[in-house]
């Protein structure tokens, strides 16, 4: 699969950033579409023009009739279809890598800050921006911005797949008739032209059509699955949340605009904890830890653990 190797390698990289259904979709793409195209379709269509025969001796008539019957060969159409359908995933991979690269920079900056400023580092380690997309294990979770671009890529994939399936229907239909009637100059009159291997070609066209439909179905299921998961997570989060006098409700939480505020909040927290340890009265231990909410632009973005 020499020439498809690069595409394969790039799509493999996306595997770790997709859902389970996304991985199944990639497998379908590679085995049922690319491999069948390379090993089967190319051989069947190899003599499509040389064995396209017209009932005339007029030179040039076969050329023009073939051109009219097949403005673009099925094989090339499928190549463009596969590339078009894989492009949204590659764009998503690009976005993913960009986001992870930015997070790496933030992590490095955090480390540098911690090295330079020892005193405040103890406070800042807890209050500074926590890496959102990469967990400590190195795994990447699809949430916030990434989730949005994942959904966008799914929608784009679905639209492109539908467009190509409809395009194929309007260009050739889904079966090939053995005879094609052609009346184009320089053919002297309406001539009968005969296709090579029409039945075998129809079988492969149906096979590729079914694979395209399966890919489309998988993309639709994936979209639905993401939607259902997001709704479930939203409902679960709403049930788990408990309002206490220490932590204000989310609508009233102020984003920490300056570092000093964050540091002050941490100092307050430490003093509170120390006070509770010494058994000072008046400190209500209903909620032992007051949650410090980080100023994140995507704090309201739905999070989906996949």
């Amino acid at each position: 699969m020499g020439e498809w190797d690069l595409l394969g390698r790039l799509l493999d990289k996306v595997q770790s950033h997709s859902t389970v259904i996304g991985k199944v979709w990639l497998t379908v793409l590679f085995i049922f579409r690319i491999m069948v195209l390379r090993t089967g379709a190319e051989k069947v269509w190899s003599d499509e023009q040389s064995d396209f025969v017209c009932n005339t001796q007029q030179p040039g008539c076969e050329n023009v009739c073939y051109d009219m019957a097949f403005p673009i060969s099925h094989v090339r159409f499928w190549v463009l279809q596969i590339i078009a359908v894989a492009t949204p995933k590659l764009l998503y991979l690009g976005h993913c890598l960009h986001v992870i690269h930015l997070e790496k920079k933030v992590k490095e900056r955090m480390k540098k800050q911690a090295e330079l400023d020892d005193q405040t580092s103890v406070f800042l380690r807890r209050t500074y921006k926590i890496p959102k997309y990469t967990k400590s294990t190195g795994k990447i979770s699809i949430r916030g911005r990434l989730l949005r671009s994942y959904v966008l890529h799914l929608v784009a994939k679905i639209i492109l797949e539908v467009l190509f399936i409809l395009g194929q229907y309007f260009l050739y239909g889904f079966t090939l008739a053995p005879r094609y009637e052609c009346e184009r100059s320089p053919c002297p009159h309406k001539v009968d032209c005969f296709l090579s291997r029409p039945t075998e070609k129809s079988v492969i066209i149906w096979f590729m059509l079914v694979s395209a439909l399966v890919s489309l179905a998988l993309s639709l299921v994936e979209l639905f699955y993401l939607f259902v998961k997001a709704v479930k997570e939203c409902m679960a989060r709403r049930q788990d949340y408990t309002v206490t006098p220490v932590t204000p409700p989310p609508s009233e939480r102020k984003a920490f605009k300056t570092r000093d505020e964050m540091i002050q909040n941490c100092v307050n927290l430490e003093l509170e904890l120390q006070g509770r340890k010494l058994g000072v009265n008046g400190v209500n231990g209903v909620n032992g830890r007051s949650k410090i909410i980080l100023p994140e632009s995507n704090s309201l973005g739905r999070e989906v653990h996949i």
Partner: protein, 255 residues
């Protein structure tokens, strides 16, 4: 054409390029090299065997084909891709030169201070190989020139294709009266519509690559301008601080 070898070379240069450069490389290989190898080569595969002229005169088809296709589209595109891929190698060569120079300095430095262990030296050499040089100074100029050459080659080849074939459209019928054809004969090109589709596709992707190169060049220029402005501000701040410091010391001395 051994495209994997070219890819291996370009991936090395890719480490020191901007994000737009990386996008450009992917677009180049997926939308141009892959489409060329997988699709376009088979479309143009029978261009001469299925080029038929309305004559029985031997040799007429050969001369007419030669007249209308001095260089095949496929060969033009291969050359275009080769020429367009070579400027990034300038960047690789410069990076290799820098690494060698720094390695020499490192070895000389460690030779003088003999207490440096072999292990730390190896580590230093490793980091030298793996580091990513910032695009500044001479590397900036090399990179900018490589982008300029890329743009020139892309534009040049697109123009050449347009001029040689009179546009991006492939006609169905061409008329030829070169010797030994007895009179003006009609010659029919094979798969003209499919060839037109692929010519337009490759021209579009070529323009997208040109736009990416121009965007990358403007990004580099903007980066250089902001860097020089920052440096000027720093210099001004430092000089004003020094002046304040001198004033206070003078006051103390006078007091």
């Amino acid at each position: 054409m051994s495209w994997p070898i070219l890819y291996a070379q370009l991936v090395g240069a890719n480490r020191h390029s901007t994000s737009l450069g990386k996008v450009w490389l992917s677009v180049l290989f997926i939308f141009r090299v892959m489409v060329l190898v997988v699709a376009a080569e088979s479309v143009w595969g029978d261009e001469q065997s299925d080029f038929t002229c309305n004559t029985l005169q031997p040799g007429c088809e050969n001369v007419c084909y030669d007249q209308f296709f001095p260089v095949s589209h496929i060969r033009l595109w291969c050359l275009q891709l080769l020429f367009v891929s070579t400027p990034p190698l300038l960047v690789t060569m410069y990076v290799a030169y820098r690494n060698q120079r720094d390695r020499k300095r490192l070895l000389e430095g460690s030779g003088r201070s003999s207490f440096l262990s072999n292990k730390s030296q190896e580590e230093d050499l490793d980091t030298l190989k793996r580091r990513r040089l910032p695009i500044a100074g001479a590397l900036w100029w090399t990179y900018a020139f490589s982008l300029l050459f890329r743009l020139l080659f892309e534009g040049g080849f697109m123009y050449a294709l347009y001029v040689v074939y009179d546009g991006f459209h492939m006609p169905r019928l061409v008329q030829c009266d070169q010797w030994p054809c007895p009179n003006l004969v009609d010659c029919f090109i094979s798969r003209p519509t499919e060839k037109t589709i692929f010519t337009i596709f490759m021209a579009t992707i070529s323009s997208i690559c040109m736009v990416l190169n121009m965007a990358e060049l403007s990004y580099l220029v903007a980066k250089a301008v902001t860097r020089s402005l920052c440096r000027q501000k720093e210099r001004k701040r430092r000089s004003s601080r020094e002046r304040m410091h001198n004033k206070t010391t003078r006051k103390l001395v006078s007091v």
